[in-house]
Symmetry: C2
Subunit: 168 residues, 2 copies
């Protein structure tokens, strides 16, 4: 079944772009992309197995919980989670309906709306966290030392511009 590709077809790419997209950065991106999907899948699976809400819920709860006052403006939250505002509106809708979050207003600027963590949300967060952390340890610790993990985080922040606002 493992027949070799004919050299003719392999070389058929007659373009200045030449061969494969195997530039180091391209390779790194590909590996990163696949690994992200794989790990996210494992996390989702672990959560589902424990009858917990999906991963985005955890990310919302965890992000809001770390914000001063346990609340965040919708726009900042969307930016922190790297999703669109429209998407966040509906995501927060679900969390509000589940009694985990609450929408609160800003007196000085009535345009802004805060997503505020409720006690139930904090409680669920503390339940979900061990599941997430445990699964991450399982996935990472065997191939990534603490030092390497810190280095990886620094690298990722650098790529993103090192700008992680939203949290003090």
């Amino acid at each position: 079944m493992s027949e070799q590709a004919t050299a003719a077809e392999t070389e058929a790419t007659a373009s200045p772009g030449e061969c494969p997209a195997n530039t180091p950065h391209g390779e790194a991106w590909g590996a990163m992309s696949r690994t992200h999907a794989a790990v996210a899948g494992r996390l989702q699976e672990a959560l589902a197995q424990g009858d917990y809400p999906p991963l985005p819920w955890y990310e919302v709860l965890a992000t809001v919980a770390e914000a001063p006052g346990k609340r965040m403006r919708m726009g900042d939250l969307a930016e922190a989670l790297v999703i669109t505002r429209g998407g966040l509106t509906k995501l927060v809708d679900r969390l509000v309906k589940a009694g985990l979050l609450e929408r609160t207003d800003n007196e000085t600027d009535r345009r802004v709306s805060y997503a505020t963590l409720l006690p139930a949300g904090l409680h669920l967060l503390t339940e979900m966290r061990p599941v997430i952390v445990g699964e991450l340890e399982l996935a990472f610790s065997s191939s990534l030392s603490v030092e390497q993990a810190n280095e990886l985080r620094a690298t990722m922040d650098a790529i993103r511009g090192g700008a992680c606002r939203g949290i003090a």
Copy 2:
């Protein structure tokens, strides 16, 4: 639903400012997740700006193009892209409808179906590649040396188990 939440960790920091999930691996995952989303967004934007198909199309084309014979079994392709088989079926449907891919059969096992690259698909790939590579260079090169990129790829492959081998 299982009750395995350790009260110990919950009570570890009873201050109003709850202790974040800031284990090194957790931080690394969070940064990686956000960076992945951010870079993917930039790639999508760059593609859309050039009137090119969305990013998953590129990933399919690029993956199939590097496979021996420029074709891959559906299952293997789904695994390589880290998406479900059902999702891949429909994704390939679109590429087939666009004339970029073709479904071919396996004589010895009629269950399997190959996604086979067509000339139009290869041509589109060579057009999209510079867009992707350029955007990646733009995003990565300023904060990631070639050495670091290779190291990052190795790290990612290690996390994923280093199993996936689609490229020589």
